[in-house]
């Protein structure tokens, strides 16, 4: 079997076609491979133009979407149509970026959660408006450079998963492309649950975060190991940390990325303090009901 034939054989089984329009080193192509592997063929995708979704026009599943400001709403419509048609066996998977979920369509996502509409909403979070060229979003972390925060963002990242947890949705989880087993296990679990399920994936962006394209997985892993992006799930209110790595200093993560280049020692210390506190709070609540 020639190499070309081997690739053809491989892609025959996969839900993505070879090739994509992502930037070199984009975590998006990895993310989509893992997500689709776990979701399976009986899936319809909904979403407009989040960076990774836009670049991945090579997915072999029915897709529908409007524009990036329409997060979740169309998935509600599709889920309602499938219910009327007796086709609730189909998984409706809605994807959007951090700007869509956290900023312009935050009200929509909140409403879908409140109605407990029957679909999975995924936020593919690269922590800024990357498609338009690196502008600050509500999910850009404290201190990060973007073209609209040239001296670093002064406010903190909005904690969307925890806000959605308080909507009392049946399931939510945080994901990382550096932990594929954890990611796929959570997606498979979400797929089996009915109602509104939320997945939040922080996806390193070499272009916007300013790191070499070869370091995507390393950066993603460091986000988890520093406890900046802890991996957990909340099922029926019960918080469960799915990874409890030995903590590494935030500096290891921050120093790899040009977007944090300007941070002073004091600022890094401040970030470390805040991460430590959040880690403590999470560990205290691990295994407990966090619905207020």
């Amino acid at each position: 079997m020639s190499l070309v034939e081997k690739f053809e054989e491989h892609y025959k089984e996969k839900l993505v076609r070879p090739g994509n329009g992502c930037c070199p080193g984009c975590g998006g192509s990895l993310a989509w491979r893992m997500l689709l592997e776990a979701l399976g063929k009986n899936t319809v995708l909904y979403g407009g133009a989040p960076c990774a979704g836009c670049a991945m026009r090579v997915i072999k599943l029915p897709r529908f979407g409007f524009h990036f400001s329409f997060v979740g709403d169309g998935a509600s419509g599709i889920a309602a149509a499938f219910k009327v048609k007796g086709r609730e066996d189909i998984t409706v998977f809605s994807s959007a970026g951090d700007g869509g979920v956290g900023d312009i369509s935050f009200g929509k996502v909140s409403a879908c959660a409140e109605r407990n509409d029957n679909f999975i909403q995924c936020c593919i979070d690269n922590e800024a408006y990357m498609n338009t060229g690196i502008q600050k979003s509500g999910l850009t972390p404290y201190g990060a450079w973007t073209t609209t925060t040239p001296t670093g963002k002064k406010s903190k990242k909005k904690m969307i998963p925890m806000i959605l947890a308080q909507h009392r949705i049946p399931y939510l989880a945080t994901l990382s492309i550096a932990y594929p087993q954890d990611l796929m296990k959570k997606v498979r679990k979400a797929k089996e649950i009915r109602g509104f399920r939320y997945l939040h994936l922080v996806m390193p962006c070499p272009t916007g975060w300013r790191f070499p394209a070869s370091k995507t997985v390393e950066v993603a892993r460091l986000a988890v190991q520093t406890w900046i992006w802890p991996l957990y799930e909340v099922e029926k209110g019960i918080l469960r940390l799915t990874m409890k790595p030995k903590q590494r200093p935030v500096e290891d993560y921050l120093r790899l990325q040009g977007r944090f280049r300007h941070l002073t020692e004091d600022e890094i210390a401040e970030i470390q303090r805040s991460v430590d506190e959040e880690k403590e709070r999470l560990l205290e609540r691990d295994g407990k009901n966090i619905w207020l």
Partner: protein, 400 residues
């Protein structure tokens, strides 16, 4: 066994709800706004009682309402929404989606004047603002026409020659909250007239995915297709209305209705509920021997160019009664008058074209006002010279 239609006294919004129910709508996504609320709460009751088997998504805003409606339509369900005024403006981004994506949803626009220079009462700016978006717009005079038009709207929009969304428009309060006798057609007969929805371009089912090959062609070509669909819709609207008339006994003359226009020298053009009042005025003046007729512009998109031209060839003066404003527009005219002017332009001999603003922000449109307008048009037809080209009737001293 054939059942007889039933007649019931009901408000316009309830008539609309019956139209939705008889059309066997499968997904509704709507957000409340006065004066549309009675329509959506009636639908909620119908679903609760099991009379209408539909999923109703109670959304958090109009931007979502139409997006969810359009997505449901793409997923193979017959879908409906309704809104008004601020709601229509708020959903503007969503409004462009169904025409461009060729999704035949139906949205009732329960006309209401837009704030700040409006209140709760009706004018036509909210729907006319959408004239460039690719929605078919049909203006209804009363509750019966609303019910009938919603059923027709699905037949028109879902016709594969068209595949465009349709907005039945009717004025808040004047139509939406006024009780009139409305005949409810038999469900089986409606089922014969309106087959189940099936879109040839779309399927979101994983075993057989299908989507329009939009990205394969130029945008200009895709836009030209929408324009061509609009042109084809004229014929479809006529056909559908005629067949509806044969089956149910009510025919609305398709694109425009001409009332006592046969030998008219002057005609008044109206849209929506004003037409009912204008009919009485024309009757009165006809009794006085005046050669005046009334043109009810039922469909504003696609614009009935040929019909207006045909009328233009026969009369000396046309007065367009505009219930809208377009600040700073050509010659200070309203939207209806501007469109009419272009329709008339290629004619060798033009009738005089006059423009009258009435009922702005929902003020009452009265018989004395319409009599004043009719007499001004008649005078222009007689003398060949208008008293004024454009009149804000409420600010005028009325004749007589």
């Amino acid at each position: 066994m054939s059942r007889m239609p039933m007649t019931k006294v009901m408000e316009g919004n309830e008539a609309a709800a019956y139209g939705v129910k008889l059309s066997r709508v499968e997904v509704i996504a709507a957000y409340p706004i006065t004066p549309q609320t009675e329509l959506i709460s009636t639908l909620a009751s119908m679903i609760a009682r099991g009379e209408l088997k539909a999923e109703y998504i109670k959304v958090e805003g109009e931007h979502t309402a139409l997006a969810a409606t359009a997505a449901a339509s793409a997923a193979g369900a017959r879908a409906f929404t309704a809104s008004a005024a601020q709601g229509i403006v708020y959903m503007e981004e969503s409004i462009w989606m169904p025409p461009g994506m060729r999704l035949p949803v139906v949205m009732c626009i329960v006309n209401r004047a837009i704030a700040p220079l409006g209140g709760l009462r009706p004018d036509h700016n909210d729907s006319l603002l959408q004239r460039d978006t690719g929605w078919i717009q049909i203006y209804c005079e009363n509750g019966q026409e609303v019910l009938d038009t919603i059923i027709q709207a699905y037949r028109i929009g879902e016709d594969k020659r068209v595949y465009l969304p349709v907005a039945p428009c009717y004025e808040g309060y004047v139509v939406s909250a006024t009780a009139t006798p409305v005949e409810i057609p038999d469900q089986e007969e409606v089922d014969d007239f309106l087959p189940p929805y099936k879109h040839e371009m779309y399927s979101l089912y994983p075993e057989n995915p299908r989507s329009p090959p939009r990205l394969m062609r130029s945008i200009a070509e895709a836009r030209y297709e929408v324009q061509q669909a609009m042109e084809r819709a004229k014929k479809v609207i006529e056909e559908v209305d005629r067949e509806y008339g044969e089956r149910f006994g009510r025919y609305y003359d398709g694109m425009v209705e001409q009332y006592r226009c046969e030998d008219a020298e002057a005609v008044m053009v109206t849209m929506g509920s004003i037409t009912g009042t204008a009919r009485d005025v024309v009757d009165e003046l006809r009794e006085e021997g005046k050669k005046i007729g009334l043109v009810k512009l039922r469909v504003f998109r696609p614009f009935p160019t040929e019909e207006i031209q045909e009328i233009g060839k026969r009369v000396r003066a046309i007065g367009f009664v505009d219930r809208n404003t377009s600040y700073g527009a050509v010659a200070g005219c309203g939207i209806g008058c501007i469109e009419t002017a272009r329709a008339l332009y290629p004619l060798d001999e033009h009738p005089l074209l006059l423009n009258y603003f009435v009922g702005l922000g929902g003020s009452d449109v009265t018989i004395p006002q319409l009599r004043h307008i009719a007499k001004r048009i008649l005078k222009a037809a007689e003398t060949g010279k208008p008293v004024k080209d454009v009149e804000w009737v409420e600010l005028e001293k009325l004749e007589e």
